[in-house]
């Protein structure tokens, strides 16, 4: 706790999230990453969206921009492109990242801007009363899918990798120790990095889907999550009701700012040549 003091507005505790919400675990993992990497709060900018997880910046002693629903990534992109020295994180829920802000997610990944996206995926819109999002599993129940969800899902990690993210990982709020490592690796990675966190929302998603207690939600991830290395060796039948966690993808394609430094050099040469 003491090591987190430079980053946490402890005077505002307790957290306003519901009992059993996974967001506190994710926030603590992020703070431990800051501490482990010995980042100065002044060098960190956290861009948040709107929703339960969008309130995370209220507890931070770092810089932050609390903007609009789904747009945490473009705010973060402007910040990082303008000042490469900053460590920039975008905190988004599944509504923010996979649904209303899906376009920005694709393009931030494609652009490979050096921003770390931490997605708290609780499979529904908690803040507005538990409606279905683009990650709500088919047939599951929410306040706007009381007969079952008719839509399909985005697998954020697959989408992110396909779009060009150069670091892609998934963790859960049950696997807290692993989560801190994933977030630390993501922040250290140069380029667009995604850490999707399967979170728990007992109050809405859990209550609608027969997992109404925090413990049941935790047990759910304990029993379902499989390390990705093992998952990849499993046959199709064994993969039913299992989800892979860990680092899915990593490559060292140059990030946007590195490439743009070349653009600046070329532009200068061209202008000087023109005399």
């Amino acid at each position: 706790m003491k090591a987190l003091a430079p980053y946490l507005k402890s005077e505002d505790l307790p957290l306003f999230w519901c009992a059993g919400c996974g967001n506190g675990i994710i926030l603590a993992s992020i703070l431990r990453t800051f501490s482990a990497l010995e980042l100065a709060p002044k060098d960190i900018v956290v861009s948040t969206g709107i929703g339960c997880w969008g309130k995370a910046d209220d507890y931070l002693k770092t810089n932050s921009i609390h903007g609009t629903h789904g747009r945490a990534l473009p705010f973060a992109t402007g910040i990082k492109a303008a000042n490469d020295d900053l460590t920039v994180l975008a905190l988004m829920g599944d509504g923010d990242c996979a649904t209303i802000g899906g376009n920005h997610f694709l393009h931030a990944a494609r652009r490979n801007i050096d921003v770390t996206a931490i997605v708290s995926n609780n499979f529904n819109y908690g803040m507005t009363g538990g409606q279905y999002s683009a990650t709500t599993p088919p047939h599951s129940y929410t306040s706007t899918s009381v007969y079952g969800n008719p839509e399909g899902v985005f697998d954020l990690c697959e989408v992110g990798q396909a779009a060009g993210a150069t670091f892609v990982a998934r963790g859960t709020v049950y696997h807290a120790n692993q989560l801190e490592g994933l977030i630390t690796d993501a922040v250290r990675h140069r380029g667009f990095s995604l850490v999707e966190v399967f979170s728990s929302c007992p109050v809405y998603f859990g209550r609608y889907n027969e997992r109404p207690s925090p413990v049941e939600m935790m047990k759910y991830w304990q029993s379902r999550a499989v390390p990705v290395q093992r998952y990849r060796k499993m046959d199709e039948d064994s993969r039913v009701d299992r989800v892979p966690i860990g680092v899915f993808h990593r490559d060292d394609r140059p990030d946007f700012n590195t490439r743009y430094r070349d653009i600046r050099a070329r532009a200068r040469e061209r202008m000087e040549g023109r005399g």
């Binding site: 709060p41 002044k42 060098d43 900018v45 861009s47 910046d57 209220d58 002693k61 770092t62 810089n63 932050s64 921009i65 609390h66 903007g67 609009t68 747009r71 990534l73 473009p74 705010f75 973060a76 992109t77 402007g78 910040i79 492109a81 303008a82 000042n83 020295d85 900053l86 376009n103 920005h104 694709l106 393009h107 743009y260 653009i263 600046r264 070329r266 532009a267 200068r268 061209r270 202008m271």
Partner: protein, 381 residues
């Protein structure tokens, strides 16, 4: 004339970019749209050579967000678009308003609604620029009618943005943006620029939204300085952290509105062109001001003397300019390329019984001097 000044022949949109660079802008984020694209193209060529950044975003929502982000990181930043793009920018423009982030939005207007006549001029974003984005707020909107003004007013837009920590519109149009004229570009040291102040208090005492203690614009620390800062689209207090207290909300909303409305005398920019004792005054702005100039040259028009009130700032609305005209009782014609947006505001100041005529046109074709002369003959005399 000072020999240091450079005389150039260029397009309005190019002059906007020159103005932005002269004002110190080093960051552009945008999405291509006719008739503004020349600004983006010129920005993509010039900014990287100056160490700046051109970001082509995935849409206008992202563009406006990136502009705000870069401004918070310490850059003077801007975007350029047209009506449909402005519609998409409105939500994140609200972030700039609420979090008091200086930036400039260039709107090169085209004919709507919707995709409309995408390559034809209009002045129908006059009210969108004032009221676009939800919630109570005010607006600073400048409207150039010449290529020279594209340069001069762009510089001023950046200065007003810094002074009031507010997003400022440069409301151009297809005609002004695409026409070519001679302009005089001043030397860098001849341009008055407001540079963003850095805070000098103890970091623990930094209050990014405290307008009251010093009575001047509170400095906006760039992200990365020792002044750690929260920019917040939610209701917040002087610290930037959320505060839902009704009295705080009342104070903040009033402040965001009043800091601009009460500064109207400082912001207002208009000029009476033509005889000082006219029989009729044409109130106009942007491209329509240029066609109206012909009437001043053609005096007398149908036997009457015509003057123009050319508005270079549209919002906050300069009531005082019209109060003077009202005292003289001279009939006014408000000429604009829309179905009558600014005339509502002029009528509000003039009152219900005043001879205030609305000359409108909304088909993508500018109002010709001949149409103005005919309107005066038929409706005013």
């Amino acid at each position: 004339m000072p020999s240091t000044r450079e005389r150039r022949f260029m397009q309005g949109n190019e002059a906007v970019l020159e103005g932005a660079l002269a004002a110190g802008a080093r960051f552009f984020a945008g999405y291509p749209i006719t008739p503004s694209s020349e600004i983006a193209q010129a920005a993509s060529v010039r900014l990287p050579a100056l160490g700046g950044t051109y970001l082509q975003m995935e849409d206008e929502l992202a563009s406006m967000a990136a502009v705000v982000g870069a401004a918070l990181a310490g850059e003077k930043s801007f975007t350029a678009t047209s009506g449909p793009g402005v519609s998409l920018m409105q939500e994140n423009l609200g972030v700039a308003i609420m979090a008091e982030v200086p930036c400039v939005v260039v709107d090169v207007q085209r004919s709507g609604p919707s995709t409309g006549l995408a390559t034809k001029p209009a002045q129908a974003d006059t009210m969108q620029a004032r009221w676009g984005s939800h919630g109570d707020h005010s607006a600073i909107v400048l409207a150039p009618s010449s290529v020279q003004e594209c340069f001069d007013l762009t510089v001023r837009a950046f200065n007003l943005a810094e002074q009031y920590r507010h997003p400022v519109y440069l409301l151009s149009d297809e005609i002004v943006g695409h026409m070519r004229e001679s302009v005089t570009l001043p030397e860098a040291d001849e341009v008055d620029i407001i540079t963003r102040r850095k805070p000098d208090v103890d970091p623990a005492d930094y209050r990014p939204h405290d307008w009251e203690s010093d009575g001047v614009t509170p400095p906006l620390a760039p992200f990365g300085s020792e002044y750690i800062y929260h920019a917040n689209s939610s209701m917040h207090d002087d610290t930037g952290f959320p505060n839902a207290d009704p009295e705080n909300a009342r104070r903040v909303i009033s402040h965001l509105h009043d800091k601009i409305e009460k500064a109207v005398d400082d912001i207002a920019d208009y000029e009476l062109v033509g005889p000082e004792d006219p029989d009729v005054i044409i109130v106009t702005y942007g491209c329509t001001a240029r066609t109206a100039e012909q009437l001043v040259l053609d005096q007398p028009v149908n036997g009457c003397r015509v003057s123009l009130l050319v508005m270079r700032s549209l919002w906050p609305f300069p009531d005082a300019a019209f109060a003077e005209i009202r005292a003289g009782g001279i009939p006014v014609v408000v000429a604009e390329m829309n179905l009558g947006q600014m005339v509502r505001e002029v009528s509000r100041v003039m009152g219900p019984d005043y001879p205030c005529h609305s000359l409108t046109k909304s088909n993508g074709i500018p109002i010709s001097p001949r149409e103005m002369a005919a309107f005066i003959e038929e409706e005013v005399l």
